[in-house]
Symmetry: C2
């Protein structure tokens, strides 16, 4: 009975700790990816209540002495499975329509492989708060379209001047600088259109509008583009190491987001 009581205390304390770190995570001002679901969604706190009530029942002594066991999770398998779904969705998202050249250039870089870290994180964030991956799949694809746009523009001669990307000629080496710039522009514009058109109707339009606003702010002059501008500004400056440039950007991001609180 004493052990059962100890178990209950330990579990509640563990839940409390978990609750705090979860709050911290969701209150962090520079987390951009919590868009589809409300910060105050009841499903966020549901698991805590379940654990507290479960701990009242008698518990196995070994389990009671340890923290709550995590469910079995094969990270590599999760990443690969989700990446496959993202790849299939990306392939369908941009068919080889007229004018052929621009769609070829868009597909060339979008489907050139990669770990699909950003879209998989987007799907995982959706599932973490109890959503089905299909709800976030268009947004997941949008993050990869935007990532691809940033790589195409970043590889240009006036930027990093790279000839190769993932073992293949860069977009401008294959299609010319003008088409590469336009392919990036079309991918960026299409990412927003894709979220607006393809997000399932079961997601309320109000949330879609908010998600599009978050996506825009994550890409624009206070997000991705801000990072690239800081990167350019640090280049050739011998006093600036990579670390300082990164720290400057993170600090900037925090400052900008605190202003918006």
């Amino acid at each position: 009975m004493a052990s059962s009581s100890f178990s209950a205390t330990a579990t509640i304390s563990s839940s409390h700790h978990h609750h705090q770190s979860q709050s911290l995570l969701f209150n962090k001002p520079f987390i951009h990816n919590s868009f589809i679901f409300s910060k105050k969604s009841p499903s966020l706190r549901q698991p805590l209540k379940l654990r507290a009530s479960a701990s009242v029942a008698p518990v196995d002594q070994t389990a009671a002495a340890l923290p709550l066991p995590l469910p079995d999770f094969d990270f590599k398998d999760y990443m690969l499975t989700k990446a496959d779904r993202v790849n299939a969705a990306l392939d369908q998202s941009i068919p080889l329509a007229h004018p052929i050249k621009i769609h070829e250039a868009m597909r060339y870089s979008l489907l050139a492989g990669g770990k699909r870290v950003r879209p998989v994180l987007c799907l995982a964030a959706c599932e973490m708060v109890g959503g089905d991956e299909s709800l976030a799949l268009p947004m997941a694809c949008a993050t990869e379209m935007i990532h691809t746009m940033s790589l195409i523009h970043d590889d240009l001669p006036c930027m990093d001047n790279d000839d190769l990307r993932r073992g293949l000629p860069t977009n401008h080496k294959k299609y010319g600088e003008d088409t590469a710039i336009l392919a990036g522009d079309a991918l960026l514009s299409f990412s927003f259109e894709h979220v607006a058109v393809r997000t399932p109707k079961t997601v309320s339009p109000d949330r879609v509008v908010r998600a599009i606003a978050e996506l825009g702010s994550a890409v624009g002059s206070a997000g991705l583009v801000a990072g690239q501008i800081v990167d350019i500004a640090s280049e050739g400056d011998e006093d600036v190491t990579l670390e300082v440039s990164l720290l400057e950007y993170i600090l900037l991001d925090i400052l900008i987001n605190f202003e918006h609180l």
Copy 2:
């Protein structure tokens, strides 16, 4: 009495004609700007009913013999007044925030003047179907941000290689090619964010989502970017005149939009 009867007939006939041409306009598949209000909005047909019933009352003979007089409309004054409002809204839309350089570059081209034809057309389309201009002002600004992006990217050395735009150095001449590309990207991304964040809450989120989808399709690989790709493809081809290139693009636009019907 005879003249009054004739007047009624003439008015109804004129209304009928007006109704037909209005239908044609709104059924054209390549009209992109009818987004905020539904094609079948009852307000579209309201003025016709009003005219038909007004014609039952006795009417001045001179007026009866002529087609319905158009309301007084000073086109130049309308353009200038609306352009002033657009300019004020654009100036407020992108403050000179950190990182300063990218926001300076964005504002440099966005606020460099111009007739603001696209945003004024957007406001006029909204008013034509009975909406208040404030409902369409964020979308109007978005069209100008995107137009500015296309000018910045089009002026680049690998595209048209222009040094001057509206009597001022082009964006890349003033800020460098890398910043000019990023300023264009940020303007494009921000245009969607701006519509999502700033459209008044009296417009239903469902319509905002549809408007964003229309905006994306008007810009992307089947819209503005398609036009530029056809433009590039026609360059240096001696058999292709400007007219043929333009006709090709219009035909393409019609074909693409018929596919979507």
